[in-house]
């Protein structure tokens, strides 16, 4: 189901789609809540208390909200990027590696400015490099797909491992701190190279505005530009590309560049705005999580950030669980995974129901 926006579909189809979507959503949430409750009960904790702690741990205070938004920013950036590749029908699993490469490229540039002079220049250059790094990493998968016929899922997965290898090698090798090499990452950046942030929420306004910009840019790109239209067309039916003289390969590469670019931007923000150094877990699996967000939001650019916010709350809120209830914090992962599985199951079930209905009608 592609996004149906008001101008593109007649009102009745639009209404039906909304009714279907809401019905599926309610059903999905019901399935997930009962499943997670079952898990919590089985692990011997009171379910209501668990949900309460997740809520309180994520939205209970300004600091915690700031924390949620810090997770939301890279998640939203990756989700926006993925909308381009999903539009044309590509599964850009490599988004995780693209975040890592963005972080690496940004760090590479920042290392020249460790004395703290010309900080603004180095920050801008780091962001440009980060975007380029992510885009480059995505382009490799794109070229393997368009030239070599390698499935982008396998290429992306392979490149994720390579990126993970490179970041570990850099942190424990060439970029290690003088005398010590540890999982805690490279040397801390000087204060001048940190993104400025609001101290009460430990939140960088620049990062937030970049994420908001990404949403708007993506919405405009997909809706009002030729590129967006062509991506949608090719995603709908690549076999008709010849009728409209569309260059399928070019648009595939373009979609990959957008996805990788946004992922690289997320990586750069992780370095300059969150950790202020390069750490092995710089991507924090936000790339993989963004794939789930995009799917769950039905590839809609406006629903995506909402789902991303919900996921960020789950992630941050579940940090409380080990302390409060002796539950493992991976419960958020269980909920997120269950959500996507349930959404896919509900979707598949509806398609099957419709097919059976059609067959009996015939």
């Amino acid at each position: 189901m592609q996004e149906k926006n008001g101008m593109n579909t007649s009102a009745s189809i639009h209404d039906k789609a909304i009714v279907r979507f809401s019905r599926d959503l309610v059903l999905t949430v019901l399935v997930v809540v009962s499943f997670t409750t079952l898990i919590i009960v089985l692990s011997g904790a009171p379910p209501l208390a668990a949900y309460y702690h997740i809520f309180k741990g994520s939205l209970g205070s300004w600091v915690k909200l700031g924390h949620v938004i810090r997770v939301w920013i890279p998640l939203t950036l990756c989700t926006c990027g993925l909308l381009y590749t999903f539009r044309i029908g590509l599964w850009n699993i490599g988004v995780e590696g693209q975040v890592i490469m963005g972080a690496i490229f940004a760090t590479y540039v920042l290392r020249f400015g460790m004395d703290g002079r010309m900080a603004t220049f180095f920050l801008i250059a780091a962001f440009v490099a980060g975007v380029a790094g992510g885009a480059l990493w995505a382009l490799i998968a794109g070229y393997l797909k368009t030239k070599g016929g390698v499935n982008e899922i396998f290429a992306g997965l392979g490149l994720n491992f390579v990126a993970q290898g490179i970041i570990l090698w850099l942190i424990f090798g060439p970029w290690k701190r003088a005398g010590i090499a540890s999982m805690s990452g490279t040397e801390l950046l000087p204060r001048e190279l940190w993104l400025s942030y609001v101290s009460t929420m430990r939140l960088s306004p620049l990062g937030l505005s970049l994420a908001l910009c990404a949403i708007i840019v993506t919405a405009v790109m997909l809706r009002y530009t030729k590129i967006g239209l062509c991506l949608k067309a090719l995603g709908s039916n690549p076999n008709a590309a010849h009728i409209f003289d569309l260059n399928t390969r070019l648009y595939m590469l373009l979609a990959m560049v957008f996805a990788g670019g946004f992922a690289g931007l997320a990586g750069s923000i992780q370095v300059t705005g969150v950790y202020h150094r390069l750490i092995p877990a710089i991507s924090s699996n936000y790339g993989y999580l963004a794939l789930l967000v995009a799917m769950l939001s039905n590839y809609n650019v406006w629903i995506g950030p909402v789902v991303a916010f919900f996921f960020a709350c789950l992630n941050v809120g579940s940090i409380q669980l080990p302390m409060m209830l002796q539950l493992d914090s991976s419960l958020s992962g269980v909920i997120q995974g269950a959500l996507v599985l349930a959404a896919l199951a509900v979707h598949a079930w509806r398609i099957r129901a419709r097919r059976i209905a059609e067959e009996t009608w015939n």
């Binding site: 579909t9 189809i13 530009t225 030729k226 239209l229 067309a233 039916n237 008709a240």
Partner: protein
Amino acid sequence: MRIELRDMHKHYGSIKANNGINLTVEEGTIHGILGENGAGKSTLMKVLAGYITKTGGDIIIDGTVKDYHTPAEASIQGIGMLYQEPLDYPPLTVLENFMIGQAKGVSNQHSLFREKLEELIAHFNFTLDPDVIVKYLTVGERQQLEMLRLLSLGIEVLILDEPTTGISDLQKEALFNSLRKLASEGKSIILVSHKLKDSEALCDRVTVLRDGEVTGSMEKPYDANELLAMMFGEPPLPSTRSAVDYGETVLSMKNVSGLGERTGLSRCTIDIREGEMIGLAGLEGSGQGVFLRIAAGITKPTEGSLSFFGGNMIGKKLHAFKKEGVVFLPASRLEEGLMPDLSIQEHFALKEGGSSFFVKWDEARAESSQKTEKFRVKGTPDTIAEALSGGNQQRLMLSLLSKESTLLLLEQPTRGLDVESSNWVWWHLSKYCLRKTAVIFSSTDLDEIMSIADRILVFFDGRIIKDVQRDETDARELAEAIAGRV
């Protein structure tokens, strides 16, 4: 075994693929089922083979009514079918394929089945090697394998659906000999074909179907003219069309061959001039599709030369063909022609091309509402292509065509359309001819070709076996060519 089909019906919605067919196949005979495309031959045989469920009627085997619903149950009754596309496992060897469905239990029975297979191969003088991987076999060899497998399952009635399409003469000879041998051993053979020559050479008796009904049957020796009349009905009166002055040569092909469909296209030589309306006749999949796609620049020819207005086009990209004004409309509109999820307005925006970064939605909307009215597409600019009916999809595709095209290539442009829609399509296309555009269309309906085209090319087994002006031929001659007799 004696097979009797009584009052067989198979309906798809309002379409009656089989409408009350009666047919008897005697034991030890070869029975031919003749008919043109869509006559209902394959449907009838698939019902008999348990592949599809009948809507009504009885299957009577050796005097008793039998009821079965799957190919496996049919093979227990002793009925097996060789499909047009071989149903085997390409990565496995011939022997392994042969053993599938026969070998039971966990013990290794290779040597047992090897002996059995080699015996059968020798019995029919086939050339199969048990250790070759099936994907390296020719269509004819895969057919032999499938036939031997069915026989060793204990098949008494063997159905073959167009078995001679795409196989060599030598393999055809081997196939025919083996079928005669089987019949003499008491097996019943049913041969589905549109090729008169094959049926004449092989069958003891033929039954002709047209539009889902039996139009007649005949025993050896055959009167070809009478059979053709049963197959194609009475020849229609040719309609009169005002003569158009033809211009320069638009498209020129010399010895062009290409791959695709089952037959491919072999050594096609032809010149097409401005303003010509050319109909491609022949059984579906006899090379018309490959011809159109090569002319459109979508399929690359394997040999030969191709030029537009004298300029070489071999090795040129699709874009170069577009620039010459070549337009191709495929038969499968939603699969190859339109973007199912896109609205009418988006199709117009997509067609617009241009170099601007943003889509000019206002213009696209204005153009789409104007064109949908002019082309009588029943839908608003916001209707998505998938939601349109077949006729409206076809009109949408036509409305997207540029007026400046030099060569229109249309694959079955009226497939699935009602009479009124078809007439509209032809009326619209005739305007292109007056503007000196050359129009080439394929159709499975001979009447349609006779009434529309100025010039007719008949395809048979991947070759153009007839190239005539409409005024210089008649339905009988064309029907013979379609059935492979020139």
